[in-house]
């Protein structure tokens, strides 16, 4: 569904008369009993879904959006219960009816497409059998008839070769295929309402788009109402007619999708829209010294990109206050590697390449059926690129593209099969022992999973101090001063250092990880999906922090991500990887506005919400993989107030 369907869903007073909502939730209260007392997960939530309509609940993790949806078919975990309010389905109050009656609704009236395709199919049963079971349970069909129907349903869900696939086990399916099977299952008994709980958040963007398109078409045809749960505002706006925004267990705002996006009222919605990466379309600019860039909650939501300066202290490098270097506009992306590196708009910044990667290749032996039969699998195939000092280079690609393997080789955590990594012109591929240790001081990583990146046994102080101790830097006293300084740099209070990772949120852990990476004053920081696991607001906060640190300390970043929207916000140069190869590279501007390769175009087109016009933001409108790329329309000037726009510097537009 695109903008046009959204308009179609606009209120129509004539046809509305006599319409009753399919689902009506009013003043819903849900409480969880935990060891630490009761937690009120949902408070006074009211929403309604009309037949055939798509309603999206948007919120961060812990906002209560899934809990609200799960309570409808009484699928809450054991310790959760509805403590107030009512749920009416099809005009009937089902809040307190016996379980038997809920059972009759499940599957046949209310379907579910769950979040994680990996864990939601029973690994012990064939996929076909699991759908057949849904048909039998709801009295749709039995026996051979049900089996035939389950193949039809899989086909309908867009699974190729459905007859054979129905006979396979879930572990033989890819993530996207599993999700299609789950959609087939959710729609098997033709429910009137389909609850889709983050149905695609575990999938690659291009797969996500295909599956959501398919789901849209299917529910449209069948007239199924959809309650879509998502953390992605862009995705919600693109797919739903009506949006419901939840924050800390409460509904803070709801309304027609477009209206809500363009005219948000609640400060939280404003904040969410401002931070949504899928709607962002600008390179973040570090604003120290730029007067207009100050944000009060929501007030400047339409002024995008926005920047809020964390209370930074420490010496500022004047020449680097605004270091948003931009690359040249090369004509042929494939020759990029041979270029000397991007030139800079600011003379103080040297134009040398801090890291050069030349023909880097990694092969993994894949064991065959018998141990002596191994086939090499080329995870990374002759990848070459450079990172110019003080800039950010992003590698973007989907799972299996080899982007993380590149990061590991640059970090020297993995031996390349062939090719070289040059650090300041010196080949470091063969570094060992002391040489390697001193190289490690200068190249530091930040990893994806905030819950795995910090040793749970180490206090925050010990975590940040560890690199200093490892390299024998300073005495206890100077190290403590350094830790304080680093905490300050990542905008965390110094009292934090006596705490342990298990007390911190994901975003805070990631900031600790950044502080640790910066402890040795590195020159290069390699961020492997460093913000992917974070909620949108926290993600944008961390991205801004990274950007500020770059301008303050002159860091060079290699940013590995699957998320093009993040690339847009942080990268100066972008490499697109597919199946181990770099298919396209150039300045971020070029890649986004004039993609050369079909694959890049497909990726761009798949960014959810990219095509939704939003006051103050630019849209990326790349329709189809093979379609001609339209020239992007850069919206007027409101965002240009005082903020230096890297794109205009590039002279591209």
């Amino acid at each position: 569904m695109t903008t046009s369907t959204n308009t179609a869903a606009a209120p129509d007073a004539g046809s509305a008369a006599g319409n009753d909502p399919l689902l009506e939730i009013s003043d819903l209260e849900i409480t969880f009993g935990t060891t630490n007392g009761e937690v009120r997960a949902v408070r006074g939530a009211s929403l309604s879904v009309y037949p055939g309509e798509t309603v999206a609940i948007v919120g961060e993790s812990g906002s209560g959006k899934s809990t609200t949806a799960m309570s409808i078919a009484r699928l809450l975990p054991k310790n959760g219960s509805i403590t107030g309010g009512s749920i009416r389905f099809g005009g009937r109050d089902i809040t307190a009816v016996p379980t038997r009656e809920i059972l009759a609704l499940r599957g046949s009236e209310i379907g579910l497409v769950p979040q994680d395709p990996m864990s939601n199919l029973n690994p012990m049963w064939k996929v076909g059998a699991q759908i057949t079971e849904a048909l039998a349970a709801n009295g749709v069909a039995r026996g051979a008839k049900a089996r035939a129907r389950s193949v039809e349903l899989l086909e309908e869900a867009g699974l190729p070769d459905a007859a054979r696939r129905a006979n396979q086990y879930p572990h033989e399916f890819s993530g996207g295929m599993k999700q299609r099977a789950l959609i087939a299952m959710g729609l098997a008994a033709r429910p009137k309402l389909l609850i889709a709980d983050e149905p695609t958040s575990a999938l690659d963007v291009t797969v996500q788009q295909q599956i959501l398109d398919h789901l849209d078409t299917l529910t449209e045809e069948l007239g199924v109402a959809v309650l879509l749960i998502t953390h992605d505002l862009g995705l919600a706006a693109e797919r739903a007619q009506h949006l419901v925004v939840m924050y800390k267990g409460q509904i803070v705002e709801s309304g027609p999708a477009i209206e809500l996006l363009q005219n948000p009222q609640h400060p939280y919605t404003k904040r969410l829209i401002a931070a949504a990466p899928s709607l962002a379309s600008r390179r973040l600019v570090s604003g120290s010294g730029t007067p207009a860039a100050e944000e009060t909650d929501g007030a400047s939501a339409v002024q995008r990109p926005t920047y809020s300066a964390p209370k930074l202290s420490g010496p500022k490098v004047p020449s680097l206050t605004v270091s948003t270097p931009t690359g040249p506009t090369p004509t042929d992306p494939s020759t990029q590697a041979e270029h000397a590196g991007p030139q800079f708009g600011y003379g103080e910044v040297s134009s040398d390449a801090v890291i050069q990667v030349q023909d880097l290749t990694k092969e993994f032996p894949i064991r065959g059926n018998v141990p002596w039969r191994t086939t090499p699998f080329t995870a990374v195939d002759k990848v070459s690129f450079e990172i110019a000092r003080g800039t950010t280079t992003a590698i973007v690609g989907e799972s299996g593209s080899g982007k993380s393997t590149v990061a590991q080789m640059v970090l020297k955590l993995l031996e390349p099969t062939s090719g070289r990594v040059l650090f300041e012109g010196k080949d470091v591929t063969t570094y060992k022992g002391k040489e390697l240790k001193s190289l490690r001081r200068r190249v530091q990583p930040i990893f994806q999973n905030p819950y795995g990146t910090l040793d749970p046994m180490y206090s925050i102080y010990n975590t940040i101090e560890e690199p200093l101790r490892l390299h024998g830097i300073g005495d206890a006293k100077s190290r403590e001063a350094k830790v304080r300084d680093l905490l300050d740099k990542v905008a965390l209070p110094a009292e934090m250092m006596r705490r342990y990772p298990n007390e911190l949120s994901g975003g805070q852990r990631q900031r600790i990880a950044i502080a640790r990476a910066l402890a040795l004053d590195p020159e290069v920081v390699i961020c492997d999906e460093a913000v992917s696991a974070l909620d949108v607001l926290v993600q944008s906060q961390v991205l801004e922090l990274l950007n500020d640190l770059q301008s303050e300390l002159g860091l060079s970043y290699l940013f590995i991500t699957h998320d093009l929207a993040v690339v847009r916000q942080i990268a100066d140069r972008t490499l697109v990887m597919e199946k181990g190869k770099v298919v396209e590279q150039g300045t971020t501007d070029e890649v986004f506005h004039a993609p050369q390769q079909d694959y890049t175009k497909r990726l761009l087109a798949a960014i959810p919400g990219g095509s939704i016009p939003l006051a103050g933001s630019e849209t990326i409108d790349v329709d189809a993989p093979d379609a001609a790329v339209e020239d992007e329309q850069v919206d007027g000037s409101p965002q240009d107030d005082g903020v230096i726009d890297p794109f205009s510097e590039a002279g591209h537009v």
Partner: protein, 330 residues
Amino acid sequence: MDGRLFPFFPRPALPQPKVTDVIWYIGRRLLQMIPVFLGATLIVYLMAFVSSGDPIAAIAGDKPISPAVADKLRAQYNLDKPVLIQWLIYLGNLFQGDFGIGFNGRPIIDQIKAAFPVTFRLAIIAVVIESVFGVVAGVISGLKKGTLIDTTLLMVSLLVIAVPTFVIGFIAQFVLGVQLGVAPVNVGRDPSWQNLLVPGAVLGAVSFAYVLRLTRTSIAEVATADHVRTATAKGLSRGGVVSKHILRNSLIPVVTFIGADLGALMGGAIVTEGIFNISGIGSLLFRAIIDGESPMIVSVVTLLVIIFLVANLIVDLLYAVLDPRIRYAK
């Protein structure tokens, strides 16, 4: 999303298991078993012979023996050769079905053949009892986690683990055999299945408690799995969800435990057979230990180790059959 952590090993789509895969999987398991078999038999062999007293003196008993006869006996039992050679000779003979001659003059293989069926029967009874009662109690406990019945069953299982088998055996023998007279006090030779019921239950008691606890944990874990919620959302009744989605998934580790336990129980029979005076493998072994009859000790323990290994092999194969995710070529 590239959610995998380090190290990153990309894998192409999984190949379908073929017959050759299954053969190779079995072959690989057998190959892994060889060093384990050799190592375990060597250790048993060394333990039984090294630092032992003079086995010839043990044969002779209290009667004095002439040096010539002693030498002849030594040669007969290969005691004049280095231990490693003895072990290899012993293994060679073993593979030809020759376990040697016992100190009582009867071939060891014959003695084992006579005793084995008794112990096997005993172990089968123990396994049946532990599986049936353990799984049923474990399922109830796991599905009703936190209720009174769960707590009670858990306490029973703890008690059974804490009270040693021989105490349970004494009590069972005393109460059921001596006081109530519903079971024989001493089982003796060639026991019927019925006579072995009480000793079997005693033998399986500790395993019953483990099966109960394992089932309970497994059930409780699977019951909160995502796919169980999805099955509920499909419209399946609670009974359907439990039987089709919770039981099968959670019983796989239990089945493998029980399979491997069959091998372990044969070894554990030594105590039970002692209490109920059952002439099985355990008694044979115990008598050999008391008499210092090393060839018999080595033979019986080797046999038990082989049974244990075979049971584990079968469990591995069973696992692959039960769980479609197990990749043959791993």
